[in-house]
């Protein structure tokens, strides 16, 4: 049987937010475009499928405030020129998305703190992707699903052709320019284990199982410069009962600051009330990952039930702390002692979970700085916590034209989205920034790839 050869002006590897922004923009210039999406149609869109908003500069959220927020979370690990590009173009990009049928809505219930800074997709990320794909199909962009890139052929820093499996059948693709928008490696369990050791086996991957980092690795092996620390990843503490992949938003747990968190030995290990939850949830993945067997338990009592967004799994519920310990498989006397010690350390205050209140502990380590209330009103509830990895930071270095670096000038390889987000987000996280980087750099990469292809 003759092997299929796919020829196109611009090949876009990865069918998420960045990939589709690149494809639509390249098509605007008149280039023929083919999107190679390794997932089947139902799971298209990579991690964008699970997203819900992007961070957007507005009159109320100025460029300088946006930039300061980014400096704060990354502690300076950003590329100022690229960050400024993303921030300045965020509003125009949002308007461009609307023109392609993407719809926005007021902030979702339980997310009011993001109303000023973030634009929410009506229906979430999958609806966003549906709009992009409908627009792409209307404009004659070719989409191949189940199309997994296995090799890239470069000559003197220029992309020539690549090998793919389409529905398991080997094929070759040739293009005048390549856009790499294939995400990070967070779903590649072997790679995670190389970086994190055996602890990685207990990580849960919150998003798509298709982000294996194949294209990232191919590019790095070809000599593209890297950015970001392979050990850096965005990880939050999620419900330990979540599926290994693709559990998405519903597995998150927002009850951590309202109670105590213990490890499998029944010991507390970090200040649960250090700061408002939206500013702290992103450190808890790492904290849990550092505990024995990478598991922890959030313990609350009935006083705070109903004060946090419901999660998808019901809590384990018991009439006494001892019974709860037994039900969770924790050492009974130890947990009892931990709770007792914590309760004795709680100082009187007026509880308000919406502000940094004055309910704190005194005389224990670790302390609990806010929202400390005695855990004494039955029934008692427990949720198991595991590190839930959202995305990785290791990526390819790019310039302001989205060209990958390492070959001198004039390459025809461009990168957008998570695969290059580390250029801007070297550390920490700002809600919705990943989608903004993907959309802005997707458009840049699409424009530049079309130009490199002669359009």
């Amino acid at each position: 049987m003759e092997q299929q050869i796919i020829e196109t002006d611009v090949a876009v590897v990865g069918g998420g937010n960045a990939g589709l922004c690149a494809a639509l923009t390249a098509r605007e210039s008149g280039a023929s475009v083919t999107v190679l999406e390794c997932a089947p149609v139902e799971y298209r869109g990579g991690n964008s499928r699970h997203t819900r908003n992007l961070r957007c500069m507005t009159d109320a959220y100025t460029e300088s405030e946006y930039f300061d927020d980014l400096q704060r979370v990354t502690e300076g690990q950003t590329t100022d020129a690229l960050a400024a590009l993303v921030i300045r173009d965020s509003l125009r990009t949002t308007k461009w998305m609307k023109a392609y049928g993407v719809r926005f809505q007021p902030p979702l219930g339980g997310t009011l703190h993001l109303g000023r800074t973030n634009a929410f997709f009506l229906g979430g990320g999958k609806a966003l992707m549906n709009a992009y794909y409908a627009a792409a199909q209307n404009r004659g962009i070719r989409i191949l699903y189940n199309a997994e890139v296995t090799d890239l052929h470069l000559d003197d820093g220029k992309f020539k052709s690549g090998r793919i499996l389409v529905n398991g059948q080997p094929a070759e693709f040739r293009a005048k320019a390549l856009v790499a928008a294939a995400g990070g490696f967070e779903a590649n369990l072997e790679w995670l284990e190389q970086v994190w050791g055996e602890a990685a086996r207990n990580f849960i991957v919150r998003g798509t199982p298709y982000n294996k980092g194949t294209v990232l690795k191919l590019l790095l092996d070809h000599g593209v410069e890297s950015v970001g620390d392979p050990r850096q990843c965005h990880a939050v503490a999620i419900d330990g009962r979540a599926p290994k992949f693709d559990g998405g938003i519903v597995t998150r747990l927002d009850c951590v600051p309202l109670g105590i968190v213990v490890n499998k030995q029944g010991d507390r290990f970090y200040d649960e009330g250090e700061d408002l939850w939206p500013k702290r949830y992103a450190i808890w993945g790492r904290l849990v990952a550092q505990q024995p067997d990478q598991i922890a338990y959030s313990i609350i009592d009935s006083k705070v039930m109903g004060r946090f967004m419901p999660s998808v799994f019901p809590p384990i519920r018991s009439a006494t702390v001892q019974e709860l310990a037994a039900a969770l498989g924790l050492p009974v006397q130890k947990l009892e002692a931990t709770v007792c010690k914590f309760n004795q350390a709680v100082r009187p205050g007026s509880f308000d979970h919406q502000i940094l209140d004055d309910c704190r502990t005194d005389g224990i380590s670790p302390r609990k700085s806010h929202w400390a209330q005695a855990i004494d009103r039955p029934p008692f509830y427990g949720y198991p916590l595991r590190p839930g990895i959202t995305f990785t930071y290791l990526g390819v270095k790019v310039n302001e034209r989205a060209e990958v670096q390492g070959f001198g000038s004039g390459t025809n390889i461009f990168a957008a989205g998570e695969i290059m987000a580390g250029n801007i987000l070297g550390k920490g996280y700002l809600a919705g920034l990943g989608m903004t980087i993907g959309a802005v750099f997707g458009r840049i990469a699409g424009r530049e790839a079309a130009r490199a292809a002669g359009y």
């Binding site: 009506l122 229906g123 999958k126």
Partner: protein
Amino acid sequence: MQQVTDPIAEGERLMVICNACRYCEGYCAVFPAMERRLTFSEADMNYLANLCHNCAECYYACQYAPPHEFAVNVPKVLAEIRARSYRKYAWPRFRDVSTWWAVAVGVVVAALLAGTRSAAAANFYAVISHEVMVGAFAVVFGFVILVHAAGFLRFWRESGQSAAGLLQPAVLLAAAHDALSLKNLDSNGVGCTYPDQHHSQARRWFHHLTFYGFLLCTASTAVAAAYHSFFGWQAPHAYFSVPVVLGTLGGIGLLIGPVGLYWLKRHRDTAIVDIKQDMLDVSFIALLFLTSLSGLLLLVMRETHAMAGLLRIHLGVVLGLFLTLPYGKFVHGIYRSAALVRSALEASRSQH
């Protein structure tokens, strides 16, 4: 996260997932209503199911839709719960009826009502006397109103809301607006994802043609009855008289609307529907279509010898339609309206 077969239990399973996600809250009234709750009783599920207009936006937007292991398919499960709720609220209890059963009963009744008088062209009351016609329809109409009122009250009682909730003008106005404009099939101006995942206003407009066509036909009948009772003006009326114009416009709507709805139904995505309900839907669509077709034919052929037969068929179809209203798809309007009132009531409370 296992799927369950009991629709209520499956609905509760899904609502827990949806309530932890909330991405769909901008689509329709179902999701804001869901967010007002942490747990979901059977009564809650019946309410949410009747609030759902089965547009499927949430299905296409769902990151957890099949083949995802959470297997979230809200429109389908709510459709199943809705069908069960129709049987639950119906009083007296009933079986689903088919079009032909309804037509047959109607025609037999109409034939029984027919006198032996000669049927001169365009003289309706020579075929069936005015008194018999009015009497038969009054009985059927009374029955229909009684049964639907009972269903509405049973729904309202199960919801646990007070009767006073039904007497707030602002709430009723909001619910009437949503019901009469089919706001929940509009999806913020682009129309719903029906019959497939592309946005379209087709269903909303075909439903408008059907519903407002039905209203115009009812208005035509009411005007004609008033003419007869108060002015002694007897049918048949002139082509450009008020009752005939209303009836003709309504009849055209009631021809195009049901055909359009049927066409959409044939082309819809079967992933989101409860196939078992098809008989109920198609039967109602067919009765509406036959009502209009026989009425318009009667209008055009009222001067001919076909009149007597057509009149019996038309009256028979209308009688069949009305007799089966409480046991067919028509009831969706009753419970959907009740659910919209409850939704408007809850929304008004949460604003205060």
